[in-house]
């Protein structure tokens, strides 16, 4: 039992990062190559922490504000991004993250600058995180089973076809953006109320790279993909602890290896394999019945 409790902080990190990963996932699922979530989480985190620390707002309300801020900024971003595609969207959203980071460091009176904010009340524990992640997973799965999820998949796979079937690409991608903004803002706020302190660089380029990696490693289509990807990459530095300074090397090597051999991600590749086995079995039994 103590052994497990010792891992609680790591589990919390896993939960938080799964939330971030799911936020990244939903926007990629709709074919939007956005990496803005790092910036959106930063906004959500700082707003939530700031409201409580400086204005005494109740943390739950602050969390709500953070989530809404994520939505608002995401929608604001989605409008100019609507006419860009692929790599250009990625770079534009990367620029957004850098701007947020830079303004954050500069606006010292508000954000504490490079030193960040301290003394944030720890209101969020493992159970809150579990509920938040559970709710997010539910939402993502639910969306997948409805018209919206199908629209996401259509726009991602073939825009021209989607449009010819009456799907509005701008609207669909804006919705995806908004949802990802909500998730990003929420989990940014949760992180703020869990970790006592915030500093701007925790939402910088490395963070952006990490959450992208969770999704690409685990799989971009199924909802479980990001969860698995996060689990693997969060656990890895712990498992590789004996390797000390070489942990990050192993992390990098893992990314390269998975992309080379399982380019669609661990979970998606596995699901495809299982589905093909299932198809083959059905085909065999149909053939058997016919002969």
């Amino acid at each position: 039992m103590e052994f497990l409790l010792g891992y609680r902080p790591l589990f919390d990190v896993f939960l938080l990062h799964t939330g971030y990963a799911l936020g990244q996932y939903i926007v990629l699922r709709a074919g939007v190559f956005s990496v803005a979530n790092a910036g959106l989480s930063s906004i959500g985190a700082y707003l939530a922490a700031g409201l409580t620390l400086k204005l005494g707002v109740h943390p739950y309300l602050s969390l709500l504000a953070g989530t809404l801020a994520g939505v608002v900024f995401a929608l604001l971003l989605s409008w100019p991004l609507a006419r860009l595609r692929g790599v250009y969207q990625a770079i534009a959203t990367l620029a957004f993250v850098q701007v947020v980071l830079s303004v954050n460091v500069f606006a010292e009176p508000l954000t504490g600058g490079a030193m960040g904010l301290n003394g944030i009340p720890r209101v969020v524990g493992t159970w809150t995180l579990l509920i938040a992640v559970g709710a997010t997973i539910y939402l993502m799965t639910a969306i997948g089973a409805t018209r919206l999820g199908r629209a996401f998949d259509a726009v991602r796979q073939d825009e021209a076809v989607a449009v010819s079937l009456g799907v509005s690409v701008t609207r669909t991608q804006s919705v995806a953006f908004a949802i990802s903004g909500a998730v990003a803002g929420l989990f940014g706020g949760l992180e703020a109320f869990h970790g006592y302190a915030l500093e701007p660089n925790q939402f910088g380029f490395s963070f952006l790279v990490a959450i992208l990696s969770y999704v690409v490693l685990g799989g971009r289509r199924s909802v479980i993909g990001p969860v698995v990807g996060t689990a693997v990459l969060v656990a890895l530095p712990e498992i590789a602890r004996p390797l000390a300074e070489y942990r990050m090397l192993v992390y990098g090597a893992l990314l390269v290896a998975v992309i080379a051999y399982l380019p669609r991600g661990i979970v998606d590749t596995l699901l495809d394999y299982l589905r093909r086995q299932h198809m083959a079995a059905r085909a065999a039994s149909t053939a058997g019945r016919q002969s």
Binding site: Y138, I143, T146, G149, Q157, L165, D272, M279
Partner: protein, 251 residues
């Protein structure tokens, strides 16, 4: 009856005129043919009609309404459906999943109920899933329901594309070389379906190379060459037109 009408439609790409003063009608209840050698501009016309390309000049009128400037998804929602020259199915998704997206236009569930996965949204999905299975049955494809679309034979893939286009009960159906590469038997079966579809009041535009096929199905045929309509009339008239013969065989 809802018919489609192109009036003096032009499309220029820089110095190239892909479509030049195209005037033709696609009346409801009939199959209208559009034929012409490769590169004549047939797919361009479909793209212009469906809103994938902007017109350089002219008008497109549907049911008395000028749709020339509408966006592609808007036009689709007015009741337009099309198939593509190269089959564009979602290869990794199952046949049923490919059809489900075909019903997108018909669905009414609110955004909120979709995001939260409320019963209304789920019930709607169940309903259109049933409709998809009905469609599969009508096309005798039920046994392929859960197959990945990319694993089907060419002829079957074409059928799936057809089903997807018909799923939302369109009023205008644009078919871009739907039987290319099929043998006569398969083509004839699809041809029967086109006639049925037209008979139910839909305006069908059929773009094809297979002249025998077009002759059997269409009362009215337009011939395109280098972006211009060079002949219009019944198949027999058009086939004996020297300009048409020259275009296909070279003079």
């Amino acid at each position: 009856m809802k018919g489609l009408s192109l009036q003096g439609v032009c499309k220029r790409f820089g110095g190239v005129t892909a479509a030049d003063e195209i005037t033709l009608d696609v009346p409801a209840g009939r199959v209208t043919g559009l034929i012409g050698p490769n590169g004549a501009g047939k797919t361009t016309i479909v793209n212009l009609i469906t809103g994938m390309l902007a017109l350089s000049a002219g008008r497109i009128v549907f049911d008395g309404r000028d749709i020339s400037a509408l966006g592609a998804d808007r036009i689709s929602r007015l009741g337009f459906a099309r198939t593509f020259q190269n089959i564009r199915l979602f290869k990794e998704a199952s046949v049923v999943d490919n059809l489900l997206i075909g019903f997108h236009k018909l669905q009414q569930s609110s955004l909120v109920s979709n995001i939260l996965g409320l019963p209304a949204a789920r019930a709607e999905t169940a309903r259109i899933r049933a409709m998809a299975h009905d469609l599969l049955q009508r096309f005798d494809m039920s046994r392929f329901a859960d197959f990945p679309a990319g694993g089907l034979s060419y002829g079957h893939q074409r059928r799936v594309e057809m089903m997807r286009a018909l799923a939302a009960s369109p009023t205008v159906l644009l078919l871009d070389e739907p039987v290319a590469g099929m043998n006569d038997v398969e083509a004839a079966e699809l041809g029967r379906i086109f006639l049925e579809v037209a008979a139910s009041g839909i305006a069908v535009l059929l773009i094809e190379h297979n002249i025998r096929f077009v002759t059997r199905l269409c009362e009215q045929v337009h011939v395109l060459d280098y972006g211009r309509v060079i002949a219009s009339g019944t198949p027999r008239q058009v086939m004996s037109d020297p300009a048409v013969i020259a275009a296909y065989l070279g003079s």
